[in-house]
Subunit: 393 residues, 2 copies
Amino acid sequence: MHINKNYQNIAETYLFSEIASRVRKYQEHNPDARIIKMGIGDVTRPLCESAVEAMKKACDEMGTKEGFRGYGPEQGYDFLKTAIRDYYKRTSSVTLDIDEIFISDGAKSDIGNILDIFSDDNVIAVTDPVYPVYVDTNTMAGRRITYLPANADNGFLPMPTDDLEADIIYLCSPNNPTGAAYTKDQLKVWVDFANKRDAVILFDSAYEAFVKDKKVPRSIFAVEGARTCAIEFCSFSKTAGFTGTRCGYTVVPGDLIREGMSLRKMWLRRQTTKFNGVSYPVQCAAAACLSEKGIEEIICNLDYYKYNSEVITSTFDELGWPYTGGKNSPYVWVRCPGGMSSWDFFDALLTKANVVGTPGAGFGQNGEGYLRLTSFNTHGNTMEAMRRIREVF
Amino acid sequence: MHINKNYQNIAETYLFSEIASRVRKYQEHNPDARIIKMGIGDVTRPLCESAVEAMKKACDEMGTKEGFRGYGPEQGYDFLKTAIRDYYKRTSSVTLDIDEIFISDGAKSDIGNILDIFSDDNVIAVTDPVYPVYVDTNTMAGRRITYLPANADNGFLPMPTDDLEADIIYLCSPNNPTGAAYTKDQLKVWVDFANKRDAVILFDSAYEAFVKDKKVPRSIFAVEGARTCAIEFCSFSKTAGFTGTRCGYTVVPGDLIREGMSLRKMWLRRQTTKFNGVSYPVQCAAAACLSEKGIEEIICNLDYYKYNSEVITSTFDELGWPYTGGKNSPYVWVRCPGGMSSWDFFDALLTKANVVGTPGAGFGQNGEGYLRLTSFNTHGNTMEAMRRIREVF
């Protein structure tokens, strides 16, 4: 019996435990300090009324003989897939077939599980800094990983070079952690590269609902040619506050063929074999968020976060601190002032302003010298945090 | 870019589509026939009141600022893990640490995903007939599969032989599809074999709540030595009618070490990397099913199915048809009368009694000559189906 030895190569991440430990120590020595956490990576606004009511109605149905539902389709109910198809049409003018949409318990699951359909000998390209899941899931399968430097020179948006060797390319736009977002023209270059090389782009659009800039597509399928080279992952987590409710979706176009096999059919086979669908009440809640009333309600929450982003970015504008993000993203990625390192600035912010951020160095070597703040705290706390930062720096 | 070519080796299963096609054709030619489906593999009783109320309460919480929950622990909330720990103690006198219990969206997901932590060069042992998921998930990873014949000679409960080469052994007890269940003494032989060979037993106990026989353990951890060789998969699907609500759990003992690595820690790493936990309202519903009131309610539903099993088995006793299952299982696996093949008996049942079963041949070559009936239809339909069978045969 042999274990999967690749697990021994996964780096342990101490980022969030180290942050927690430094904050705890500071609070112990300064019990009166009112610390504001601006590193929160999770939404904080409650579920919208439409979602709650739809989910409760579905619970009631499940308690009756007539309304009870057992196993549903592994790839999700048509009522939700149709709602998502219509959402793509409205928000991105993208036309999808409902058989190209797969409902899941979240984008993180799908981003990991999609790798099942690819051979272990593919070379993976990720950006640096990077959402660690892309790296860890491939390390678990022993795949070789290439890092694309994302830095101030390229606006944290690396582009393909002729010598780039990559079979599978992860793009996250708007990006976690940098908040940078590719324009349609930039994504077209990536799509052309992938089509030319027979590569596949895994496009993480978890933050699409935060996009304001008309030049930034909310779906890679708004880019010509993407249907033959891209898979898109999205979820209700950030769009509708579903981080604890759990519902995501993955789009695998019917036109995406590699080595004679339809990746859509392979993913369907993977999901029907290793998955049993998403909870019926949860699917009802997700569909309700895409109804006319639901959309109005979730936009309220999104606007709440967007306003916080503006509070943060206007402060940095005022201080003259360079940053990316905040415009199309709940993340603001700021250059540490005075050439400080990520952790030095973290400590300075904590001890001088009692504000907690996330050191950029924790997301990869190109993150050194940067810090990530998020817009997920309350208005009051966000404004107070910025007031303190202006006062101290 | 290379796809996972093993997907080309997965057998397409036509079992359920072939059944549907034959039933449809018969119904077209006999529009007045009232067909009773006794092949149903899904529960039909509604969720119990405790589950519905707990889930609705959680939905309400999620809609408030104070009660909202975002990302939960990937391995599940302590309140549910504690309830499951106590359930093991009560039903099986098994003591577990809550860190050994992992909550998921269902046993099917975990049974597929657990393979991530094992090397692809392991040899897999499954019974024949078999739940196809064990075979397909390993075929996808290119693992070699050995079949253990389950037949009338061994009571459909194959035991290890000295020449058995197996690194990972799937045991499903009470079994799907045969309904046969291993006694504690029999499982002890398997546990000793696995410990001696450094193999791992993947124990599927999805039907544990149907066990009546005191000699049949509801958990493999009731067997001495299992903590160093077994992983157990279970779910609320059959116990509490959660097939559409989705909640399961996997137990990986802390004592299970292979090649110096803790499989519990490996699974924790797999789940924290590729999974984001189960919906909070669903976890609340699952915990409610294990409360004092919830247990009373789910037992009512289980008794409903158990009564149907008795109606089926007493009919077969009367007819003198040999069968396994029905006693500790919702499945009754009956020998086709008069030496008929699985599909011939299927056709005879359909056309003469208007009753639909599942041909045993669809589960493996040792299933030939058998048919599976289930106890998941209504009392009325089950009794009517048995009345017709007694009349015709």
